[in-house]
Amino acid sequence: MLLKIAWRNIWRNKKRSIIIITAVMTGLSAGVFLIAFYNGMIEQRVNTAIQSEISHLQVHHPDFTKDYDINFSLQNGAAILQQVQSNPAVKATTGRIIIKGMIASAAGSSGITINAVIPEQEEAVTHLPGKLISGDYFGAGNKNELLLSQKLLSKLKLKRTKKAILTFQDKDGNITSAAFRIIGIYKTLNTPYDETNVFVKIQDIDSLAGLDSQYNEIAILLHSNKMLKETQSAISLAFPGSTIQPWTEISPEIGLTVSVSEQMVLIFMGIILLALAFGIINTMMMAVLERTREIGMLLALGMDKAKIFRMILMETVLLVAAGCPGGLAIAFIAIAITKRTGISFKKFEEVYASFGYSDVIYPSLDSRQLGLIMLLVVFAAILSALFPALRALRLKPVASMRK
């Protein structure tokens, strides 16, 4: 009966209730969509980073990442690669030689990371051929081929098919240079990465650097991020002399972005719900003040204060709950549509790319976040109800019935 009274009370002032329900719908749909949009951005950044740049896991010599000295190569790289490939959680893996060096042309030079890769394995791990915007991927018998980005190409005022000079220190500390022909131009979603990374075949660098077929990096792509810790532990256990880092450590700024995303959800929704809460408090306060006489009568008749409190609480929660299905439906429809079509920010492509983000965002929302949002909504509704409900509790039957 209390629920029935609460529900019917909501509709005593239809216009006022519809305004609040509409506000809840709008706030909730906007909040949920905004969170889905933010999620989409983060997910894309993480996926791009994992699938194009750093993979899920990387294996190095414990001292290699301190200053990228090529002397710290993996002594048992081939064995690690072989064992890792047999792990069922691993989708693809590759060995690399990573050297910090310089690229030069007649027009200028630039500091770069030379990624010496095994073409077939690299394709499986980072899909490098798919990122080519012109030219070709590494061919079978050709020597000293080079892939670089359009950005770097422009900076060096070079053209495809021309040669660039790569300079780096070999294993013995000698400066080594070699001319490499530009055979392809690639582009990822991360401009800073593109500006500082070039790709060559591993056998071309191997002899120049004097590494005797030793890798200094093994990149591992997993079937799912959920297998990350388990796989990391397994490899660490098998090769205790090597350092196995997950992507959150390799690229801590991305790891941080992901770890703060939950707090961001709370902050987004908190702000929206706080604004809504004031509207709800105002409405419910008006409802209580208008019904002072009626509440006094209920107290006089024998309705105890706990029930009065519950009735006001129910009215508020019902008012909010009435707006939730509509708000969620609008948000879900908008997410479903934009998840398929994407939201394009083509005009800001450069800005997005400079931070490593795609200019087309595909919103996404997981059920755990939805649960968190719903919890926040319920919390906001209860919080909004407290003030008017406490106001109702302070009423005295006789004084109230005189009003």
Partner: protein
């Protein structure tokens, strides 16, 4: 056998105690026995409503106490007092005070729900009471769809629903036309006669005073006259 329902002793209610004290009630002693049909009359401001509020536990006396069936309700506080009212006292207010979002039937049932009475009992009692007040065909109507007289009859049914010790009616006919007031008084007189329900009215209305078997007159917060109980008033209307 002790038939006392209400024993009010030295009831005093002073407003603005710290500035200029106003005696709304001044040392009122009152004894009500089961089955009385009592009217409390007096000019405006004489203390009728204050006295009724004290008897119903809606207001606290500055001095004195009210004993209902052996319970000193002046000492009851908070939910204990609310529970006592729920189970022992029926109220009929001047402006009906029905719950506007509930139907006539639900308004009556609501009180029994607060008492946690079983569904079957509630339904049976609601039907009985609606028949008693002649509104069975209006059971599904909300207060806004009923006339003033009909609303007041629902209020009487609601007051009777929890089977109280007595009913306090504050100016119950004040907003009613003479036909509706007559009907309402007939119903209450019948309940008094047949079910020995005790009624205490505060009223200005001569029609109520004429039907009462005991008339208490208040002036300036004091009882100035208290008529001897007369034989039951029988009515054919």
């Amino acid at each position: 056998m002790n038939n006392t329902v209400i024993d009010a002793h030295n009831l005093t209610r002073i407003y603005d105690e710290n500035t200029i004290p106003v005696y709304a009630l001044n040392s009122v002693h009152l004894h009500i026995t089961k089955g009385e049909f009592t009217a409390i009359k007096g000019p405006s401001g004489s203390g009728k409503t204050t006295l009724l509020n004290m008897l119903g536990g809606l207001d606290e006396p500055t001095e004195g106490y009210v004993n209902i069936n052996g319970t000193n309700i002046t000492q009851l506080k908070g939910n204990k007092l609310i529970d006592f009212r729920l189970n022992n006292i029926g109220f009929v207010f001047q402006s009906y005070n029905l719950i506007p979002v509930l139907t006539a039937q639900e308004n009556i049932e609501f009180i029994m729900l607060l008492q946690k009475r079983p569904k079957a009992e509630r339904e049976q009692r609601v039907t009985e009471l609606l028949k008693e007040v002649g509104l069975i065909e209006k059971a599904g109507k909300r207060p806004g769809e009923l006339s003033g007289g009909q609303q007041q009859r629902v209020a009487v049914a609601r007051a009777l629903a929890p089977k109280p010790q007595f009913i306090l009616a504050d100016e119950p006919t004040a907003n009613l036309d003479s036909v509706s007031a007559g009907n309402l008084l007939d119903i209450m007189a019948k309940l008094n006669r047949e079910e020995k329900m005790t009624f205490i009215f505060s009223t200005h209305d001569q029609r109520v005073i004429d039907r009462a078997r005991r008339v208490i007159t208040l002036e300036d917060g004091k009882i100035v006259s208290d008529t001897t109980p007369a034989p039951l008033v029988h009515t054919n209307s």
